[in-house]
Structure formats: C-alpha cells, structure tokens
C-alpha cells in the first residue's frame, strides 16, 4: 500500500551525510515505501538541512521491528539520562 503517512518535526543536532558532518534542522518520519530496503514498507527517517539542498540528508529505512527497538532504546536511554 501507499500509506502517505508522514510526520515532520524540527530538531537541533548534527548528522553525517554524503558530504560529511552538517547541522540537521528538520526530520521527516514516514511509514511508506523504501528506496533501498528489501521490504514493501519501512519506517523511514530523513534528517535534513533544507538550507543546504536536497542532498543534505541522512536517511535510514528500518523494518517495523527494528524501528520499534530503536524507539524503545531511545526512550530508555533518555529516561535514564
């Protein structure tokens, strides 16, 4: 299916993309078709810096279980920290 399901959020941090380290200012999170992962749908996250152009992007495509594990790990670490 083509879910279109998408969330956008502003954020502050850095990411390492094809051109090296850069500030990231936005993220797009969506459960939809991947570009590369061998699955029909994946949880995709684009960390972006639109001011640097479309290629200023750190992208991941995770299967559903992996995305859940990642989300749990982030919440646990933030709660403990």
């Amino acid at each position: 299916m083509c879910t279109y399901s998408t969330r956008r959020l502003p954020l502050r941090g850095s990411g390492k993309g094809a051109q090296g380290w850069m500030a990231v200012t936005d993220a797009t999170v969506y459960f939809d078709h991947p570009a590369h992962a061998p699955a029909e749908h994946t949880l995709n996250i684009d960390f972006l810096n639109p001011s640097l152009g479309p290629a200023a992007r750190v992208a991941v495509e995770l299967d559903r279980d992996s995305a859940s594990l990642l989300a749990d790990a982030i919440r646990e670490l933030l709660a403990a920290g």
């Binding site: 299916m1 998408t6 684009d46």
Partner: protein, 247 residues
Amino acid sequence: MADAMRAETVTLAGDGGDIIEAYFAQPLEAGPRPGMVVIHHMPGYDLQTKEIVRRFAAEGYFAICPNLYSREAPGADPDDAAAAARARGGVPDARLVGDVSGAAAFLRSQPLATGKVGVIGYCSGGRQAFLAACSLPLQAAVDCYGAFVVGTPPDGFPLKVGPLDRLIPQLGCPLLGLFGADDQHPSPEETAELAGLLEKNHKDFRFHTYAGAGHAFFATNRPSYRPEAAMDGWQRIFAFLAETLEG
C-alpha cells in the same frame, strides 16, 4: 517493426509555464504515433520509471515522464528529490495537472504525433493519472493501484492529497484499473466503491484485481513484484491502449 529508439532527458513547460525536466523516449521508425504520459511513483523519477518509459517507446508510442520534483530538487538524486518533496508536503494536485498538461502538449507537438495521448501512473501516480484524466483532454487512462481515489487519508497527514470522487463526473476517457487483492490502499473494498461510482456515472472503465498480489506488483526491483500479475497487466495495458489510442 524496427526497434531502434532514442531516449533522453528533455525540458518542457509544466504548470504555470515552469520549465521542468522530463524523460522522453521515441521510436526512430517514422510513422504516426500516439503518446503516453508516465507518472512516476512517490519514490521518484527513478531508473525503474525510466525503464517503463522506454517500454512504451518499444511498443510504438511517444512516451514521456515529467519529473514531478523538478522544482523542489533540480538535478538531485531521485531519492533525495523524493525526500525533499515529501518534506514540503508532496506534489499539489493543481500543479500535477499542469505538469501532465505540459507533458501531453509536448507529445502532441511531435511532428508524427497522432494527437491521441494516454496517461498511466503507479502507486501515488495511479491516483494522479485518475486526477489528470478527470481534468484534461486525454484519450486513455491507466491507474495502477492508486490509493485515495476514494477514501480519506489518515489523520495528521501533511501531504497535499485528498479523495477525488467528486471529480468522477468529469472523467473524460476510458479508464483501466489494475489492482492487487492483498493491497490495503487501495483495498478491494475501495476499488469496488470506485467501480460503483463509475458505473453510476456511466463511465467506460475496466478494472482487474489480481489474486496473490498486493501493492506495487509491477515493481521489478521490489519484493512486491508478482511476475504473473505484472505480465498479464502489461498485456491488458497494451490491449487497452491499442483500442483507445490506435483505433
């Protein structure tokens, strides 16, 4: 039939006269030819979509795929362009119609064009093919598993799409719909609802739903590929186009 073709990136005037990129394939053998506008899926103007454009040229059509993300990400990799477009809310419907109109005009301007032009789209492009066929003078439309022709997108959904059922009375050409029985968007219930609305409006349409196939069964580079459904689907597409564009 000679099989030589030329395929290349061109530019054309899209919505609002904006110059956008497109991929154009044409058979080299002389002869009057109808045209096909190919609408790429949401992951972008990619290698697989360009293969589809060349396939139509191999079957004797002038074929073109406008890069719907030309404005957001000129020259970017297809996946980066798709990400940039999604982050900005996707392709607005009105702009899509303008870009397809420009692509159809480009095909009709070819010296050997017959003037008949069809449109085909996959995934989000299936919905957009339906939108174009309700908005522009076209002679055939093929919707391959387009979601949200009927039905409402989920809450919190920032992309600029909505149901198109209000446009059904304006559908101006025959419609072929190819769907997977295991798809959830569009689900078999949604395609049945669309079929009912098309019947109610006395539209010329043919729908086929493949058992054992889900979304994107034409996509040869994805695990969703279903060779039997895809091969049968291609046969149905070319039979439909022979009837609607070559008659």
